[in-house]
């Protein structure tokens, strides 16, 4: 187990990779972890590929540089599998968590990963389209992380979100909460 | 509103004697006359300039009232900060007096380098009065041209040479610019009549919210006049309509002074050394005609704004 688990998010500007990483750090902080989250800032605006990072540890985190060798890569927009370089700096122990209707096996083929690599796929886009009619894959992606941080129950993710977004209209909030749970339940792990 | 000298002669001016302004300078007169009718305690903010330097030669200060200067281009911001502190401390019960805030800047610190800061302060609506003592050039650094310098004036950075006859550009109309901020009170005057100066400044200070007063004052060195002629030259500025006297109260333009006769601009220009080149040679005739044409055009604009007509007794 490395000193800190380092996560790299791939998203597009405006898609919520930044807030996704921030909410994840809050959930894990609530579960007693030391956490850090930070986006990469440039001159890019809405739609440009961007990255955000998390560090999660049982010890205080002092390092504040970008993540070079992520333990987890989260891709919240399937088109970024081509537009970004999700495997950069990774090794066979890196876990991939990808928003896509594809199976883990197909993803491995697409990214040229060996079979031993763990890939978790989730069709987060479909879930959110069904739950609230918009492509905002953040909530299901968050739920999927319960498969990475197995010591944190999915209920903790749901509760944190419910608490943080308490001001949302009841209908929107409950749709989001369902989406988080479905993100946990509808994964394909390979 | 009217101010009588016998009521103010015993009052100490916010500015003392012992200042180091030039003999016959218009700036201290503008301060004394402007503030003589004001009954509120004042705090003064000053932009860098002659008035600032010459009244505060360390360790002496000619200011009987609290006074602060930071830099050249920021009297507007400076007065904003003091006024903001005052409002905050008053709200929190740490101060209970009614205090008014006045900023002084020359035309350099007001028309040019300090315009942004002044504009910001006017827009934000602080309760203050900004007084521009406008001698139409940068006097503190040695009579350079400013954007208030009139067309044709001989200034050290727009000298009257054999090819270029002094400043070529028309001055900007800062009073109109200030009025365009739609602040409650804006006025323009000169030292032609001390009661007018005193009344306008008093009104500016007593009006809640931002106010701006543009006072034309002579600089004996730049204008190259006999220091004793301070009042006379200002009177000529008003009578030739070179410097119209008016105020803008809540957006209503009001002409304060209509000269009885049509006085040619030469009467204002001729006593001043900075225009001496306009009175030599054939070419200068056109320049004088231009100066008169500028006046006619600007006067029309002011009359229109003030919804006035003018019928001189010629």
């Amino acid at each position: 187990m490395p000193q800190a688990i380092e996560i790299r998010w791939h998203g597009r500007g405006g898609q919520g990779a930044k807030s996704g990483s921030a909410i994840l750090s809050e959930v894990l902080f609530g579960a007693g972890k030391f956490v850090q989250s930070f986006p990469e800032y440039g001159a890019e605006r809405q739609g440009a590929p961007m990255k955000a990072y998390n560090r999660v540890s049982d010890q205080p985190i002092r390092k504040r540089c970008g993540v070079q060798n992520p333990n987890v890569v989260a891709v919240i927009d399937p088109t970024l599998l081509d537009a970004a370089r999700p495997t950069e700096g990774c090794d066979n122990n890196t876990i991939y968590l990808i928003n896509t209707p594809m199976s883990p096996a197909d993803i491995k083929k697409k990214l040229g990963l060996p079979d031993a690599v763990k890939v978790i796929t989730i069709d987060a886009t479909k879930i959110t389209l069904e739950e609230f009619g918009q492509n905002r894959p953040n909530a299901p992606m968050l739920g999927t992380f319960a498969h990475i941080f197995t010591e944190v129950p999915i209920q903790a993710f749901v509760e944190h979100f419910a608490h943080k977004m308490a001001k949302l209209p009841e209908k929107v909030l409950s749709a989001n909460l369902r989406a988080i749970r479905r993100g946990y339940e509808e994964v394909q792990i390979g | 509103m009217s101010i009588r000298i016998k009521d103010v002669v015993h009052k100490k001016s916010p500015m003392t004697q012992g200042h180091r302004m030039c003999p016959g300078c218009g700036a201290p007169t503008a301060v004394h006359q402007g503030l003589m009718g004001v009954d509120f305690p004042l705090v003064v903010v000053n932009a860098t300039g002659c008035l600032e330097v010459s009244t505060t030669v360390y360790p002496f200060s000619a200011w009987r009232v609290p006074w602060i200067h930071t830099a050249f281009e920021n009297a507007g911001a400076g007065v904003s900060g003091v006024e903001a502190a005052y409002q905050a401390l008053k709200k929190r019960g740490k101060i209970d007096k009614e205090i008014k805030f006045v900023a002084f800047g020359g035309d350099g610190g007001t028309y040019d380098i300090g315009l942004q800061s002044l504009s910001g302060a006017l827009e934000r609506g602080h309760d203050f009065t900004y007084i521009c003592y406008n001698n139409q050039g940068y006097m503190n650094t040695g009579a350079q041209r400013s954007s208030a310098t009139p067309r044709g004036a001989n200034a050290t950075t727009s000298p009257a040479g054999s090819v270029i006859p002094g400043k070529l550009q028309k001055p900007k109309d800062l009073t109109s610019i200030a009025a365009a901020h739609h602040v409650p009170y804006v006025a323009q005057t000169t030292l032609f009549n001390h009661m007018d100066v005193a009344a306008k400044v008093k009104r500016a200070i007593e009006t809640p919210g931002p106010a701006f007063v543009n006072i034309l004052v002579p600089c004996v060195l730049f204008w190259r006049i006999d220091p004793a002629l301070q009042g006379d030259i200002c009177k000529k500025a008003a009578d030739t309509r070179f410097w119209p006297i008016y105020e803008v109260i809540d957006g209503e333009w009001k002409l304060s002074y209509k000269p009885k006769k049509r006085v040619p601009v030469e009467e204002f220009l001729k006593p001043q050394g900075r225009y001496s080149h306009l009175f030599k040679g054939e070419k200068s005739k056109a320049l004088l005609e231009q100066a008169q044409a500028d006046i006619e055009k600007d006067w029309e604009y002011i009359l229109d704004r003030c919804k006035e007509t003018w019928e001189p007794q010629d």
Partner: protein
């Protein structure tokens, strides 16, 4: 149970501002400090503070209004970065001279050209000689805590000097991490009320601020500012210890991480210190006697404390996140000077890193230590992470 939240350096500073509830805040937005001002504006809009918030039209006006408001007797705060700080340059020495306390959230960012929004220390370093106290923070917690200590230090009657609370742009300002907050009452008690000396608004005792002082007195006025800085150096630790008593967190002027028995030390400021400390731990496991000296207070410079901490070391590397083009980088120059004054002729590498947000990775720190250990020491600058 203290309140602990995941927040950014900017929001942590804004939260401190909310708790301080200054009389006046005059500010103008600029990346990456804008979040401070926006968050504070929300506090104003929601009545969580009753500060007179002056939304000026430029940084020059922001700092001007801060200086005059402070001279008037108000408790004053603001924030800025980079070119905003550069635009304020003219007014900083005036604030220093007037002895007007101001607590300033400075979010470090490079000063163009080329234009760049990321971190380096060139903005604050350009203001080092103007009579402001400089505190450089490693993380968001320290940013938050420093705001209160800065109020106390700045408003101390023997100091009366404005303070920059510096944090690394984006790295600290926009990174999210846990920050423990004090409760509002504890803050209020710690910072107390400002009791201004010779405030401009004292109508009965009128004073003149900003006189024209020629050669007759200018020097003497500057000599007094030197004294104020010496006092800041003297009084800082007492304030830090008082703060420790209410928060459990102690921030000495210099943060000596495993330097006592170290042979080789990296001297560094701000957020990069964390990576260096991680590397110190890793290298110590491999048997290398290395340490990290983080300078928190850069002005006034704790010369003697630094020389004492580095006494007898075999070699030192000083990391600067800014340049003094044509000369020695600011921190390296200071450290070398401190060592020389103490009679410590320790070989010193001057390392330039992180300009314009260039990342600082742990392996860089390891390389820097290995250079010291292997005697790869030279008077010319070493460039860390440069494409070469």
């Amino acid at each position: 149970m203290p309140r602990k939240e995941i927040t950014s350096g900017n929001w942590a500073f804004a939260e401190a501002m909310r708790q301080i509830n200054p009389d006046v805040v005059a500010a103008y937005p600029i990346t990456p400090s804008t979040d401070i001002i926006m968050k504070f504006a929300e506090f104003v809009a929601n009545g969580e503070v009753d500060t007179n918030f002056v939304t000026v039209e430029s940084e020059h006006s922001a700092i001007t209004a801060c200086v005059t408001a402070s001279a008037a007797g108000a408790r004053v705060m603001t924030a800025s970065s980079a070119n905003g700080v550069a635009l304020m340059h003219e007014i900083f020495p005036i604030a220093g001279c007037f002895r007007t306390p101001i607590v300033f959230g400075l979010v470090n960012r490079s000063v163009g050209a080329p234009i760049n929004i990321h971190c380096d220390h060139s903005d604050s370093m350009a203001q080092r000689d103007y009579g402001w106290i400089h505190l450089y923070c490693e993380d968001a917690q320290e940013v938050y805590d420093s705001a209160f200590m800065a109020i106390r230090l700045s408003e101390n009657n023997d100091v009366l000097t404005p303070v920059f609370v510096c944090q690394d742009g984006f790295i600290t300002s926009h990174g999210f991490e846990p920050v423990e907050y004090l409760d509002d009452e504890t803050v209020k008690k710690f910072i107390g009320e400002r009791t201004p000396i010779n405030p401009l608004l004292d109508i009965e005792n009128p004073v003149t601020y900003g006189s024209f002082a020629m050669s007759e007195y200018y020097f003497e006025i500057k000599r007094q500012q030197i004294e104020a800085n010496k006092k800041a150096l003297e009084l800082y630790d007492g304030i830090a210890k008082e703060y420790e008593a209410i928060s459990g967190r102690y921030y000495p002027m210099i943060d000596c991480y495993k330097t006592d028995d170290a042979d080789y030390v990296i001297v560094v400021m701000s957020s990069a210190s964390g990576a260096v400390k991680d590397v110190v731990d890793e290298m110590r496991e491999k048997g290398h006697k290395v340490g990290c000296l983080r300078i928190r207070m850069f002005r006034p410079f704790p010369t003697e404390a630094i020389a004492a901490a580095l006494k007898g070391k075999k070699a030192v590397a000083v990391l600067d996140r800014s340049l003094s083009l044509g000369g020695t980088a600011p921190l390296a120059a200071e450290v070398r000077s401190a060592l020389y004054a103490a009679g410590e002729l320790i070989p010193t590498n001057s390392c330039i890193y992180g300009l314009g947000g260039r990342d600082f990775f742990p392996q860089y720190a390891e390389n820097i230590f290995m250079d010291l250990i292997n005697g790869n020491i030279s008077p010319e600058e070493h460039y860390i992470g440069l494409l070469e």
